[in-house]
């Protein structure tokens, strides 16, 4: 019987695989032919069988050729597809899960390369075990025929134990006893319990750490470079820009810990850059400025808090209207999908969303004004680059809210301003610049210089002011006097109770445009700012 061509084989297998995995939204996998002139037989080791970039899976025909005589092309291809699809449908599922697994593994391994290897092996064990338990799959057969190194052999021995199948991998080698002890520990982990993955990967890492260290030593000694995973490496290529954004946002929100976030982002900085990720958004811009993990932390955390801004009467402004199209990606909201240009389909690569812009209205219309954020970075405030500063987070939330409404934001970061302890950023929509300014820390005395503020406020009829400080400002009277003169909407947030804040409170009592907010617990800032702004705008509008 004539053998089917790989492409034809894929066409017949893919609908079956899709159905088996309940129709995941993944494009038809591609087949990659070997480059002409390279001898397959010349390669002593098996190459990579499956590659995953974005949602696109690619199967290398050379890999199938190498398995000839051991298992049929059809079974090998189906096993590879089952493995690949389960990464999208079960583990790691999303970028946040990958980050979380990596971070937990790093706690044990301390070395970033080893932590990545552990995360990769764990993800493979989880997804393959899920597949073997829940689907009819040829994955065990594939593992039976793969060439195995020390770690792979251990993994296959583990599969033998937990799947209850003979995969032709009896425990052997000079360190048989030690390996058996590792496998005994590995078999006890509840791989399929998603809620326990953080704890499980730590146990997994603790168990295989000696083997990985041994392998690392051998590699250093020149005994051979670690082989590529034939079932594909798990890296950031799996994720789209939207998924990376969402993952970082979730990780910042769930960890709420700046040092942890910084460590993970710095470890993955090269890969993020290679994937074209930049803080300003957009992919494929190549290598630009280095990622500032601290700034990114506040940026992502602020995006997690949706701060509503009540609109006010502004001139030459209108409401948002559809402006241009951009491709829809998995994880993006559906409400802006343009059904006409998307042919009524929700599918990455086909579906398009409307990008909205605020248009110019005729005369006075509702809109969101620009905002000047004054943030105190004196010595009495927390250094936002050391631990999570709720003052900076509050300011970041406010900045995010205005930027999302297509308004511009200026930053006045002050400590001892008359002595030069200040940073002034003019009105801009450049998110990264704004957050960099907010994260700057001077740590000196606290004094405002009105000469810096006045040019930013003057000649702007529609402008909101957002001040966040502990109010221990030496020239507080000057500030109170200035606020009494202007009619802009002012939200002042101060931390803790002190005589200065009482003085400010008293002065602002009769001013309807000033809303003062005192917080006793710094941790309350992001939430209370949200509510207060709503209340304040409701009162004044």
């Amino acid at each position: 019987m004539k053998e089917k061509q790989p492409k034809a084989l894929m066409d017949s297998i893919w609908p079956r695989v899709r159905r088996k995995h309940l129709f995941p939204e993944i494009p038809v996998p591609k087949m990659a032919e070997p480059v002409e002139g390279t001898e397959i037989e010349a390669a002593p080791k098996e190459g990579v069988g499956l590659e995953m970039k974005g949602k696109q899976m690619t199967i290398h025909t050379a890999f199938l050729t190498q398995l000839k005589g051991k298992m049929s092309d059809e079974d090998a291809m189906e096993a590879l597809l089952d493995h690949g699809v389960t990464h999208y449908t079960f583990c790691p599922w999303d970028f946040y899960t990958y980050l979380m697994l990596y971070a937990e593994s790093k706690r044990i391994m301390t070395d970033k390369d080893l932590a990545k290897q552990v995360a990769n092996h764990f993800i493979d064990v989880v997804s393959d075990t899920h597949c073997v338990k829940k689907k009819k799959t040829e994955i065990p057969q594939l593992y039976r025929h793969l060439t195995k190194g020390v770690i792979e052999e251990t993994m296959v021995s583990l599969y033998q134990e937990i799947w209850g199948m003979d995969l032709g991998c009896p425990p052997s080698g000079k360190r048989k006893k030690a390996r058996e002890a590792v496998i005994r520990r590995l078999t006890r982990i509840p791989y399929l319990d998603r809620t326990r993955w953080p704890e499980s990967i730590q146990r997994f890492a603790r168990s295989i750490k000696p083997l990985l260290l041994e392998q690392q030593e051998e590699e250093k000694g020149g005994t051979g470079k670690g082989e590529n995973n034939p079932l594909g490496e798990h890296d950031l290529n799996h994720y789209s820009h939207e998924e990376i954004e969402q993952g970082l946002r979730d990780y910042a929100r769930k960890s709420m810990a700046l040092p942890e976030f910084r460590e993970v982002v710095e470890d993955l900085a090269d890969e993020l850059k290679e994937a074209g990720y930049s803080m300003e958004g957009g992919m494929g811009r190549g290598r630009g400025s280095p990622l500032d993990a601290d700034v990114l932390f506040y940026m992502k955390l602020a995006e997690s808090y949706s701060l509503p801004v009540r609109k006010t009467i502004v001139e030459k402004r209108g409401s948002l209207h559809p402006h241009s199209h951009s491709p829809w990606e998995v994880g993006s909201p559906y409400h802006d999908v343009d059904v006409w240009t998307s042919f009524g389909k929700i599918m990455p690569g086909i579906t398009q969303v409307w990008k909205k812009r605020e248009g110019k209205g005729r005369g006075k219309v509702e809109g969101v004004p620009d905002c000047l954020i004054a943030v105190d970075s004196s010595g009495s405030m927390i250094n936002p680059r050391k631990i999570l500063s709720y003052a900076v987070l509050g300011a970041a939330c406010a900045a995010d809210a205005y930027l999302r409404n297509d308004s511009r934001v200026a930053v006045y970061n002050f400590s001892d301003a008359p002595m030069g302890g200040k940073e002034v950023l003019d009105y801009t929509k450049k998110r990264e610049m704004i957050y960099r300014s907010l994260c700057k820390y001077f740590g000196g005395g606290t004094a405002l210089d009105l000469e810096d503020l006045i040019p930013l406020v003057q000649s702007r009829k529609n402008l909101d002011l957002f001040v966040i400080t502990d109010m221990k400002i030496t020239n507080l009277e000057t500030l109170i006097g200035y606020f009494a003169q202007i009619n802009n909407r002012i939200t002042a947030v101060h931390i803790g109770e002190n005589p200065y804040s009482s003085r400010f409170e008293k002065a602002a009592e009769n001013k309807k445009n000033i809303s003062l907010f005192a917080v006793k617990r710094k941790e309350d800032i992001p939430n209370i700012v949200l509510g207060k702004i709503k209340e304040y705008f409701r009162e004044t509008f």
Partner: protein, 254 residues
């Protein structure tokens, strides 16, 4: 007759005939059968959890009986009494060496075990080691954040306990012929009151080492900070015998 049931049925059949056939969007799934196999992992995880629950329960009961105020003083009679209680609970459980290691890490998980009191915890772990089926027990505790005291208490002859990581205070006290290896450091009062057996600490050891020891050997790969009042036995520092010999003053810093 107009409106009779037969007429209605005929009309309905006709309208059905004219209407284009509606396709059930879930038809694809009609022949789909979910395959959920039982794999050995399910059984292993289930039995592991059950054993861990029993071990945890025993520890909680020990705390209830011996550390009601969550304060526990290390005194000769409290140690003996607490160990006897621990023995009572441990004897009833069927567990493996890996369960003991898992329990050590579970101690740090406050969601599972509310209190980690290093003294009773160490005695309970020692009882688990002494009553384990295996002759050799390896506890990989290098990632443990808390130092557990009293590990290797009364380790019996024929047993070998290897601790990968550090030991706390009172490591290997009252050793009864067992072989205790600590890959890292051990703190004060190590090997106090031991009768026979061997303790090997690969790194450094603290003060009062071998206090009132009656026999056996203590080998230290690093430095001994101070020896206790030793009755009988041998202490080696970097393969050199420091007791008996030209004894430096007991409990003095070297």
């Amino acid at each position: 007759m107009k409106g009779s049931p037969q007429t209605k049925a005929r009309a309905s059949r006709l309208s059905e005939h004219r209407r284009p056939a509606l396709q059930n969007p879930f038809q694809e799934f009609q022949s789909y059968s979910f395959l959920t196999k039982n794999i050995p992992l399910d059984r292993i995880v289930q039995s592991t959890e059950a054993v861990m629950d029993q071990i945890r329960l025993g520890y909680e009961k020990l705390l209830e009986e011996e550390a009601k105020e969550l304060v526990w003083m290390v005194q000769y009679n409290t140690i003996i009494k607490a160990y006897e209680v621990a023995e009572r609970y441990v004897r009833e459980i069927d567990y493996s060496a890996e369960d003991i290691e898992d329990f050590c890490f579970a101690l740090e998980n406050t969601q599972k075990i509310p209190y980690l009191i290093p003294g009773p915890a160490g005695l309970y772990i020692s009882a688990l080691c002494n009553y384990a089926k295996e002759e050799e027990i390896v506890l990989k505790l290098s990632e443990l954040k808390t130092e557990i005291n009293l590990l290797g208490f009364r380790l019996t002859k024929g047993k070998r306990l290897l601790i990968e990581g550090d030991g706390g205070d009172f490591t290997g006290i009252g050793l009864e012929g067992g072989d205790l290896v600590v890959e890292g450091n051990a703190k004060n009062w190590t090997g106090a009151g031991m009768r026979s057996g061997k303790i090997l600490v690969k790194k450094n050891i603290g003060l009062h080492t071998g206090e009132w020891m009656m026999g056996g050997e203590i080998h230290v790969g690093g430095r001994v900070r101070g020896l206790g009042n030793i009755v009988e036995g041998k202490v080696f520092e970097r393969e050199k015998m420091v007791f008996p010999g030209k004894v430096r003053h007991p409990n003095m810093y070297y």
